[in-house]
Subunit: 373 residues, 2 copies
């Protein structure tokens, strides 16, 4: 394992993940299933461990982005339904069917091609299909009742190689206070599903934000993603109906400590110069770990105290200004809390001008993930 | 392999890597060794494949950032010297010695601790040490002749568990036209090594920029990093003495194509609205692949033509505006060239406000690497 011999680690609190799922389980309609969205290596938290924790907390299915992520879950022994949310190349239809995986389908052309591939390969197992409806996300899916009706007919044919297992849409603005666009999408959704004579087993529209703030539309399954990791989908705009517990922290240890004389500079480009004698610590993490180069000027906690990142963040190391000399090996908290102080993924994302989703996903594989229950 | 069933791929041209190394091999003093810097998974290109190609082109050693990367090279059967450039925790001294790995050392305290651990574990193999001198990078290393002299004495002791294999420094501004700070560091370097009675086997100061633009200081080994991947260390500020060939390209295929009616919007936040009927393609890549969310408004090549990224980049997908309808499966070039047009890592980095190093390192493991010779 790359990262095994390293004191710089991503720590994942599986109890927090279970807590977040439990809260949602309690809150939602009991007939509505919760599927855990574990794509992108479980938003950087580790796909297999998160999936297993989610299952223990009551998740009855999983959502991923690409076929390989679904295969990884199957290889780990998870037998629950798994939905691939993106469009999978139809050439993989036999593998999808064989592994009992479900895929999002957004066009008649896809069904036609997959049908051919399945026939040519004499595949006996049905291929589970969730029809994707584009109600305003503009990403994938059927846009009009007419095209949807044709696909539904194809799925209903006698001897169809498909199992029409689900129908869904995705909201673009469920995390915003203004629900104008959300309502517009909801109207489109209603108009579209009106052409489906018999709805399939799973009818679903909710990401975390929709389930948290528009619970009434949930349908009978929710695709619960970012909130299960304890992150608020809206950033700081809307408050969640229960306490979300962030599961991820990121810690390191100072690898070097020195006195820097007044007038000396730090890191590439010598962009930071000490205007008095200072204590400087080196943190063995850098942008190749997914700790963005833009974080120069941001802070970490060293033994629980805020310290500024001085000079450019390097590929594998960066420097912080210490209030006083501390030993090499002193704990550095980059994400999470130490004592009374805390650094959230949200604050890092704000500093970088992005969203916590991107920071979490970006944490590199060479950072070992360490799990606690 | 996560990413195996995916038409979205990072392609690495090993021939380009060999070309870049060959050019530098020809240019440098024949007695100066070239060690390939392959940390951070070979700057995202794949550590093992890059190391093997570099070796074939004449590299006689490797540099990495952390111990696990060195172990990965050993596990792949590479027997050349490997230098860990960061500070490794002294508790791993026995493993370092056993695997014949070399480490950067920047303090007497490290030597003292490692000596204890080696003795306690009855390690017979010598531990190869490269003393790091901090001449103005402000990151790791000895700052003063006095502290350096003590360390050199420790290494020279009879029965020392250490092999004093190298001494080095790192320049903060070798990629800049203004060489004031570079010269200042060089003076510090000369003053520091003056206290070493007998220089070790490897005396090295050069990253790519130093070797390209300050070749006279090279010493007898260079740590050749970014230029071997075909990237100019200065961005576009200085021109390289030979043609650098970028080794990396990134391609995908459109997963969905649709007509978007005037007035309809795209992606999260509905930040993009079509002001006329438009053709929109979906590209199955997103920020969880390391394609930054900031790239909204940037472009890709679809069948060789520039197309704008419209709406927010999602975690696993994004949308582009097409000049005309093209089939699903049409080739998308995100990095590299198609026909007469090209998109460089540099242009992506410029758009994101960072450096190509960070973009290359950030490409996620779920993007399969495909190698050509
Ligand atoms: C179709 C679909 N459903 C459900 C989710 C879960 O969303 P959340 O994490 O907000 O609960 C996602 C995630 N989307 C990511 C974030 C994206 O496409 O960018 C999704 O694409
Ligand atoms: C000590 C040392 N030597 C040699 C190199 C190779 O540099 P280049 O890729 O520019 O040839 C690096 C890379 N540094 C990275 C980029 C960093 O620390 O940010 C390095 O840290």
């Amino acid at each position: 394992v790359i990262g095994e011999h390293r004191h710089t680690q991503v720590k994942i609190d599986l109890q927090a993940i279970k807590h977040n799922i439990n809260e949602e389980m309690t809150r939602k309609d009991p007939l509505t299933e919760l599927w855990a969205v574990v794509k992108a290596n479980g938003y950087g938290h580790g796909i297999i461990q998160v999936a297993q924790a989610a299952k223990q907390a009551g998740a009855t299915g999983f959502c991923v982005a690409i076929l390989d992520e679904a295969l990884a879950l199957r290889a780990a022994g998870l037998v629950e339904p798994i939905l691939v949310l993106g469009i999978t190349e139809p050439e993989y239809a036999p593998l999808i069917a064989e592994k009992d995986i479900s895929v999002a389908v957004g066009s008649q052309a896809w069904l036609d091609q997959a049908e051919k591939v399945l026939a040519a390969n004499h595949v006996a197992q049905p291929l589970h299909v969730h029809l994707a409806l584009d109600t305003g996300m503009g990403r994938i899916g059927f846009q009009t009742p007419a095209e949807l009706a044709v696909a539904v007919k194809t799925l209903a044919q006698a001897n169809s190689p498909f199992d029409f297992q689900g129908i869904f849409t995705h909201f673009a603005t469920a995390d915003q206070a203004d629900d104008t666009y959300f309502t517009h999408q909801l109207d489109n959704w209603k108009a579209l599903i009106a052409v489906v004579p018999e709805l399939p087993r799973y009818v679903h529209v909710s990401n975390s934000a929709t389930s948290l703030w528009h619970q009434a539309c949930n349908g009978n399954m929710i695709r619960f993603g970012v909130a299960l990791y304890g992150l608020n989908p809206s950033g700081t705009d809307l408050s969640a109906p229960y306490q979300l517990q962030p599961a991820l922290s990121l810690t390191a240890e100072l690898s070097f400590v020195k006195k820097l004389a007044r007038g000396k500079s730090i890191s590439y480009g010598a962009t930071y110069t000490a205007d008095q004698d200072e204590w400087i610590g080196t943190v063995p993490i850098g942008y190749a770990d997914g700790y963005e180069r833009r974080l120069q000027g941001f802070h970490v906690l060293v033994a629980g105290q805020f310290c500024e990142i001085v000079g450019r963040v390097c590929m594998d190391q960066m420097m912080v200004r210490l209030p006083k000399p501390v030993p090499v090996g002193t704990k550095v908290t980059l994400v999470g809390s130490d004592g009374d102080q805390e650094i959230s993924l949200q604050s890092i994302a704000d500093y970088c001008g992005t969203i916590h989703y991107e920071i979490a996903c970006g944490l590199a594989p060479r950072l070992p993930r360490v799990y606690t229950e």
